[in-house]
């Protein structure tokens, strides 16, 4: 089995983190050409997504 040992005991929520990073980087790379601009906008987008997802999780947790 290829599944790494660390992943077996991992909270799957953390698996969203690499997706946030790659999605924000690739999306902004399709918007701009300058590396600095891409990285800056990606960071901002990543923080927004993370905050939105985190906020949603907190709200769902409070209602659960």
């Amino acid at each position: 089995m290829l599944l790494p040992i660390f992943a077996a005991g991992l909270n799957v929520t953390w698996l969203l983190l690499p997706l946030i990073i790659t999605v924000s980087l690739v999306y902004n790379a399709t918007r701009y050409e300058l590396p600095e601009k891409i990285l800056r906008r990606s960071l901002r987008m990543g923080v927004y997504i993370f905050a939105f997802m985190g906020g949603s999780m907190v709200i769902l947790y409070l209602f659960s």
Binding site: M1, L2, L3, P4, A7, V12, L15, P18, L19, I21, T22, V23, L25, V26, Y27, A29, T30, R31, Y32, E33, L34, P35, E36, K37, I38
Partner: protein
């Protein structure tokens, strides 16, 4: 948006290259930063999905009778060379391999041999009956005088250990030598695993001081018997799909989603290779309106309304109506 500052070279060729190998289209255009970024992001996402799904998440399997459609593969195929072999593997596998729920009638297509790990189930031995773990060597081949697909000839030799609390005087590590003559079930030849599962009937000898006749059902897997040619992006049969869901649980689904997202991200990258960045180079001065003077009008700061406000600095010619600015409504 196509920018004159970026040399897209041959955009169609770049798009095809970007599809086949994420990052290659941009490398062809000399856009090295983007080539590296797309390559790392898309390949790592696809690779993570592959690992999380134990190498079983990329396959092309359509069975319209059972209501399965390869929608997920439509996203995966956007990663190009990593997922295209799935089409070849599906064409190599027989329809029986893919669509049949049971593996009971899959024939042994060629001789197999190797290390075997599994169980002797419901074994009848001198003085009792029970289950044993088994590890040893197996060799099995289609029977030359077979009248139907279940007939095989083969040998199984190795050591056994008690699998449960058996009342027996057979010590762990006892050696057995069995003859296989009936194949109960067999995993498909083209399947995404290096090990190959089988079940068969065997009978023979328990060697040693407590020896005697032994008869058992055998269930287990021949280890590392499939080449990468027979397992990469191979289709899962219905039974394999159920087993994989059971073994991996949610990680199978997460692995699928990762590979889908990798494909969809590469679609964006392909469009970038064809058309260039959507919002321009990234260092352009913000075009459009400047802020309206605070003492002029109460209209919105749209380009047209701003122009209209600036135009109030110059009085209109005599006889022409004074332009009116309605707050909150842009001039049309």
């Amino acid at each position: 948006m196509s920018s004159s500052r970026i040399d897209l070279k041959n955009p169609v060729l770049a798009t095809i290259l970007a599809w086949l190998v994420p990052g290659l289209g941009h490398a062809y255009q000399g856009r090295w930063f983007k080539a590296a970024l797309y390559s790392v992001c898309i390949w790592s996402t696809f690779g993570c999905g592959w690992v999380l799904g134990d190498g079983k998440v990329v396959y092309y399997n359509t069975d319209l009778k059972r209501g399965r459609r390869p929608i997920g593969y439509a996203a995966q195929v956007l990663v190009g060379v990593a997922s295209l072999p799935a089409l070849l593997q599906t064409s190599r596998a027989t329809p029986r391999d893919i669509h049949q729920f049971s593996r009971d009638s899959i024939p042994l297509e060629r001789p197999l041999s190797g290390e075997f790990e599994g169980w002797l189930i419901d074994a009848e031995f001198p003085g009792g009956r029970g289950n044993f773990k088994f590890r040893g060597q197996i060799s099995i081949e289609p029977s030359p005088d077979a009248t139907f697909v279940k007939s095989v000839t083969g040998k199984l030799k190795g050591t056994i250990s008690k699998a449960d609390e058996l009342e027996t005087n057979i010590p762990d590590g006892s050696t057995i030598e069995l003859t296989i003559d009936y194949l109960r079930s067999l995993e498909p030849a083209i399947y995404p695993s290096s090990d190959r599962e089988l079940q068969c009937e065997a009978k023979g000898q328990l060697l040693g001081a407590n020896g005697g006749e032994l008869k058992a059902g055998v269930k287990g897997k021949i280890l590392n018997v499939r080449s990468i040619w027979n397992r990469y992006a191979a289709p899962l049969d219905a039974e394999g799909l159920e087993e994989t869901h059971g073994d991996l649980g949610k990680f199978f689904e997460i692995g699928l989603v990762y590979t889908w997202i990798a494909g969809l991200l590469n679609l964006l990258a392909m469009w970038d290779a064809y058309e260039g960045p959507a919002y321009g180079y990234g260092d352009e001065e913000p075009a459009g309106p400047t802020a309206a003077p605070p003492d002029v009008g109460a209209g919105t700061a749209t380009p047209e309304s701003t122009t209209a406000n600036h135009s109030t600095d110059i009085p209109p010619p005599v006889g022409e109506p004074q332009p009116t600015v309605v707050p909150g409504v842009a001039k049309v």
